[in-house]
Amino acid sequence: MTTHDTFSGQNTGDNGPSSTTDTVRFDRYEIVLELGPHREFLRIVEVRVSKDFRSVQQKVDSVDYHDVSDLYKE
C-alpha cells in the first residue's frame, strides 16, 4: 500500500522518472514543457500550432443547443 502526495504526485516507494510534461498555451501556439519533480522548468519538448483558431466568441456563436433538458426531468 502506498500513500499519495496530492501536490507532487509521488507515491511512497516510487523510483520511476519524476519529470512530467505540461502544456502552456501562448497565442496560437501550444508549448509542451518538461518539468522536474518540483515543477521546475527542464526543457521545451515541443512547440506546435493550436488547431483551434476560434476565439471564445466565435465558439459561442458557432454552437447551438439541443432543447432536451425537459426530457431528463423526473
Partner: protein
Amino acid sequence: MFYESEPQAVLRFGDVVRGYVLSAPQIDSPGTSPPVRYRVEVHSPMFAVIMSPCCSIGEHTLAISPLDEVPPQFFRNPYFANDLTNINRPMSAEKAVWPDKWATFSSEEKQERMAEGDAYALVEHFVYAPHDLLPTYPVKGPGGPRETGYYTVDFRRICRIECNKIVKPDQAPLETKVLQISIETRGELRDKLAWYFGRTPKEDML
C-alpha cells in the same frame, strides 16, 4: 485525462475544493424593499468547484458552485451512461436523447433536430469524472441500481463567498484544494460556461 496528475499549489478555475459554506437567499415576497419575508439557507457541501476565472481569484472573493450528485435520469441515455462527461461537449441531436425517445420523433422532427449539427445538451451541467478522492454513491438507473463516481456542477447554483485568506491564487487556503482538472478539461469547462452565459437568445436574434 480529466484531472491533472500533479496539481499546482494555487487555486484555479475548475478546482474541486472542500470546506466552504454556501448560502442561498429564499425570498417569499420579492418586490418590497426590504422584502418582508425571506430566509437564508446555509449549507456546506462535501465538495465545491471554483467558478472564478483563474486571474479573478483574489481580493477575498471567490465564486463557487456545489459539486452535486448526478441526477439518475441522465443514465437513461446510454451515450451519457457510457461516459457522463460526454455531456460537457457538443453532440449530435440523436446522441442527446436515448434511442427509444429518438424513435418517437417524426422524420421531420429528426431532420430539424439533426440540422442543428453538433450542439450542447443539458446546458446547465458540467460533469466531473470519477476519482479515488470522490466517494461513489448509489443511483437508480434504468438498468437497476448502480454505484457511480460522477458528479456535476449546475451553473445555476454558482454563488459568491468571501474569505480573508483568499488574497491571490497562490495566497489562498490551499489545504481546501482536492483536485485540479487538466488544461483540456478546463478548456471544456470554460467553453461551456462561456457559451452558457454568452449565447444570444433566439428572440434577440436579428
